[in-house]
Symmetry: C2
Subunit: 398 residues, 2 copies
């Protein structure tokens, strides 16, 4: 039986305790057993079933040699960073859902873990409960990964899903999401694309083995999407989703977040509601996709506990995989080629079709607009030509 | 650099050599390196780039102490069984795509591997390149898996896909598949459901930890599916796919293979053409799905090599997971409840609707038929009532 501690008794932290306790039997089939000895939180939880394990001082945990695994579910890069470092230096493995900390300091923390014969694991930091991190470094080990397309934010996927299904505007769908607890009071990080950007930076760094500097990443959120755009997408058999993408080319790595037109037959079309889905294109396996709940108390907790089990099974060893502290700059997305779903005022339709070519029409001349799919063109050339086409209302990369 | 041998230089075997050679650089990032020292085959391959590594006598491999990993891509449970046993007894880990051998003797071989501090891994035996085995025993370790729904056969999925898309009959779609190399000359194992049955038996055994006796599994293939059935499914927003399912109940395990109506919004709908997809329902994560190429030279080889890398990273250790030799009988599917998509001759429609209830109509009275979705009913009761409804042409469990 391995003793563990949970740092942060919020949604995910309490989920971790719940999973470990409720599924003790299942867990004991996969390892010698896991027991939550301490729960760290500044708050009190009178009446909580696990109140007896609550401590307010992290030193109680860090100085207890029997504790081998720490689940960090505090969030943020302040105290969580400090506690994680100290736990690893004490030879205690740390498993986390904290994407902010992983993106910022993952390389350093993984290095400290290695130096102290323990592990720093972060399956839950990207795609919630979907096994992505372990899939990339443990299963797709013979693959040259060429690109990753991820629907990695349940909030925005839910909003777009509701817009598509019910024809409601963005503001109304956002309000709905907030009422259901799928969106925060301040939803900026989700709706502006920062959250999926951070997640794709983690995945890209993991594949590359070096830290992708995501501060320069092109990020475009969903605040400008309109129900009529969804209708055009549907007319072509597809849909619009917020996609975080990275592409590994000979000359470097590209990454971006933007709403994309997902065409007919693309498996990402089935990723609806709050679900996440990650489509990986690699040279031997071709396309593979991993779908599931990217957020939610138990789904996320499940991934943290899965990591904890990995630690229990490798005591005194460094397992897991991270990237080095060497930074890599993202290449300019201007190099990339896309088709575009263009929405144009009718008076400018002919000029736009002449500029970009037209591969398929979503509609022509209804409500004073035309919508069509262009031929492939580089983002650089597209933006250049776009400057001379004021009739273009909106566009979505395919 | 770890020395490996490939047994069987057929499609998958040659794929394994190709993956190891072509992606040596990628592999070397995930382990200390892999080198194919021998290729075993009874045949000669004059002019083959790897001809110099070919041997005809397995003893050359088994007696070479430098060989630590053996990739068994021979197929069948004859010589492959013998060679695998002997390799494991010599402390050489074995990685395989051989589902027949894994289903029949996996437990024994895994035990021998454990006794000899090496590993018996079989990611490629189910779902080709999709990481399923490792996901179940390495990632979903805190999960109580409740059910697995798998589209696990590319041949039949392709055939049904073509029937749906082009409205062609089964025989024509099968011929097409054979011409494209997606179906064998003797396609029985695929079209009658034996292949997916074996695969779901492997997954069920892995989850349970005991050997699921699949000889009693209910198996129904796709030979009776007609294009008009696909149209009814489409009218309800869904599709028909050959599904291998297992369900873990309090009182035991159920498993079956049959064509199923996949309803609207089920992510399995996006699993088209030759692709496979496995939807796992578990208590904490809820639904997760794993999609990719379930067959094909490089996709399958990729999974074998992924296993080989795992072995290289754990020399002299037993990793992986299998089930015990204790057999478990499948429960009677009569206990299970389903909705059914019924196709009825018009004259019997009223009686059928009265017997089963009607939740949705696909169509009514066209071409002398009605098709509708029943309310849930146990398979046992369904079959009983069906005996008195001769007007029912066909049915699909939902």
């Amino acid at each position: 039986m391995t003793e563990a501690a949970v740092l942060g008794y919020g949604t995910v932290g309490s989920g971790v305790v719940e999973v470990i306790e409720k599924n003790a039997e299942v867990i004991a089939k996969r390892c010698e057993g896991l027991h939550v000895k301490y729960i760290l939180d500044l708050r009190d939880f009178p009446g909580d079933p696990y109140e007896d394990r609550l401590v307010h001082d992290v030193d109680v945990i860090l100085s207890d040699e029997s504790v081998k695994v720490v689940c960090e579910t505090m969030g943020g890069a302040g105290a969580a960073y400090d506690f994680t470092k100290r736990a690893l230096m004490a030879g205690k493995s740390v498993c986390t859902s904290n994407k902010e900390l992983v993106e910022l300091h993952g390389a350093e923390l993984a290095r400290i873990a290695k130096e102290h014969n323990c592990s720093y694991l972060f399956e839950a930091s990207v795609g919630g409960g979907i096994p992505l991190i372990r899939t990339i470094y443990r299963a797709l080990t013979a693959e040259r990964i060429e690109s990753i397309f991820g629907i990695l934010n349940g909030t925005t996927n839910y909003i777009l899903h509701r817009m598509e299904l019910a024809g409601i505007a963005f503001d109304e769908a956002l309000k709905e999401a907030q009422e259901l607890g799928y969106a925060e009071k301040d939803p900026t990080a989700d709706i502006e694309g920062h959250d999926p950007a951070r997640k794709i930076a983690i995945l890209a760094s993991l594949v590359l083995g070096k830290k992708v500097d995501y501060s320069s990443m092109y990020m475009e959120g969903i605040t400008k999407v309109e129900p009529v755009d969804m209708e055009y997408a549907k007319a072509l058999g597809g849909s619009i989703k917020l996609v975080a993408m990275c592409e590994f080319a000979e000359n470097g790595v590209y990454a971006m977040v933007s709403p994309r037109f997902i065409p007919k037959d693309n498996p990402l079309l089935c990723v609806r509601d709050v679900f996440n889905g990650v489509l990986i294109h690699s040279d031997m396996l071709d396309d593979s996709m991993y779908y599931g709940r990217g957020a939610g108390k138990l789904a996320t907790a499940s991934a943290v506990v899965g990591d904890a089990v990995e630690c229990v099974n490798h005591p005194g060893k460094n397992v897991g995989h991270c990237w080095s502290e060497e930074k890599v700059q993202l290449k300019d997305i201007g190099d990339l080629s896309f088709r575009y779903l263009l929405r144009v005022k009718q008076e400018g339709a002919a000029a736009a079709e002449a500029a970009f070519g037209c591969e398929a029409k979503a509609q022509e001349g209804v409500n004073g607009e035309t919508a069509f799919l262009t031929a492939p063109v580089t983002e650089r050339d597209f933006q250049k030509k776009l400057a001379d086409l004021p009739a273009v209302i909106r566009y979505y990369r395919v």
